[in-house]
């Protein structure tokens, strides 16, 4: 797959910021969350939910990215990601640089945005306006849209269980 091609991104809001991940990584969106909290989990795990008989672990993305509490807003939606084997079975996704994990994971976000096409060429690698709130390792790059900045998440880092969230 030539990297110069356009990719579609699923965008979503956390606080006032717009984030995006490659749509090929997304399995589905859940809007009415019936989250069960789990005792003794790390703070960035919001809980688990039942998705047609499968148990999905939901990551509180804002917590994971170390957002302040009062920056949260919205009702809360969950973006369910594909598992790594679902990605492998579809070779188009395989050549993406992103990986998910073997388990079923969902990301808890505030609001869902549009699906936007992003040209690889328009991705700025290290944003000059350094966002001090965000840990840079979670960011793959940013894209200037007409009216705002789209922050592309480094999903592999976000899902990485080794990194400790301070």
């Amino acid at each position: 797959m030539t990297p110069s091609s356009q990719q579609q991104y699923m965008t979503f809001y956390l606080g006032g910021d717009l984030f995006g991940i490659n749509i090929l990584l997304v399995r589905e969106i859940i809007q009415n969350l019936d989250l069960t909290t789990v005792a003794k989990v790390p703070p960035y795990i919001a809980g688990v939910l039942n998705l047609r008989g499968q148990v999905v672990t939901v990551v509180d993305l804002a917590r994971r990215l170390s957002f302040d509490e009062n920056e949260r807003g919205g009702l809360g939606n969950c973006i369910v990601l594909k598992t790594s084997s679902e990605l492998e079975n579809n070779p188009t996704s395989v050549s993406l640089n992103e990986r998910t994990i073997a388990d079923k994971v969902g990301l808890l976000v505030d609001r869902i945005g549009d699906v936007l096409p992003v040209d690889a060429k328009s991705i700025i690698q290290t944003p000059n306006q350094s966002d001090n709130r965000l840990d840079k390792r979670y960011v793959r790059g940013v894209v200037r849209l007409s009216d705002q900045l789209l922050i592309l998440l480094n999903l592999s880092e976000v899902l990485n269980t080794e990194t400790r969230v301070e």
Binding site: M1, T2, P3, S4, S5, Q6, P91, T92, S95
Partner: protein, 105 residues
């Protein structure tokens, strides 16, 4: 479709997936381009950048274009194939026929 004539080469950039839903239109376009450039070109270079999928009907279309060129004794080659498309051509034993070249990466 974007196209330009450089020296005696007609470069056609397809720019979209070649699927049965769109081939009627594409076929018509190809025909038009061929007719328009009759006499002023001796080679067609098909640029498949951005083309990820070619279904069986799409294949027919490409072969049709190839045969068309052969009839007119024009050269024909395909450039900027993605890995998937190149592999597709391999399966159909078309790679050497089309003189497939992949540029980049």
């Amino acid at each position: 479709m974007k196209n330009e004539v450089v020296e005696k080469k007609l470069r056609i950039k397809v720019g979209e997936n070649i699927l049965s839903t769109s081939i009627e239109r594409m076929n018509a376009e190809f025909k038009k381009l061929v007719a328009e450039n009759e006499g002023s070109v001796s080679q067609i270079e098909l640029d498949l950048e951005g083309v990820e999928t070619i279904d069986s009907q799409g294949l027919n279309l490409l072969i049709g274009l190839y045969q068309e060129c052969k009839r007119k004794q024009w050269g024909f080659r395909v450039v900027e194939c993605s890995e998937t498309v190149k592999w597709l051509f391999t399966i159909f034993k078309l790679n050497d026929v089309f003189g497939v070249e992949r540029v980049g990466n």
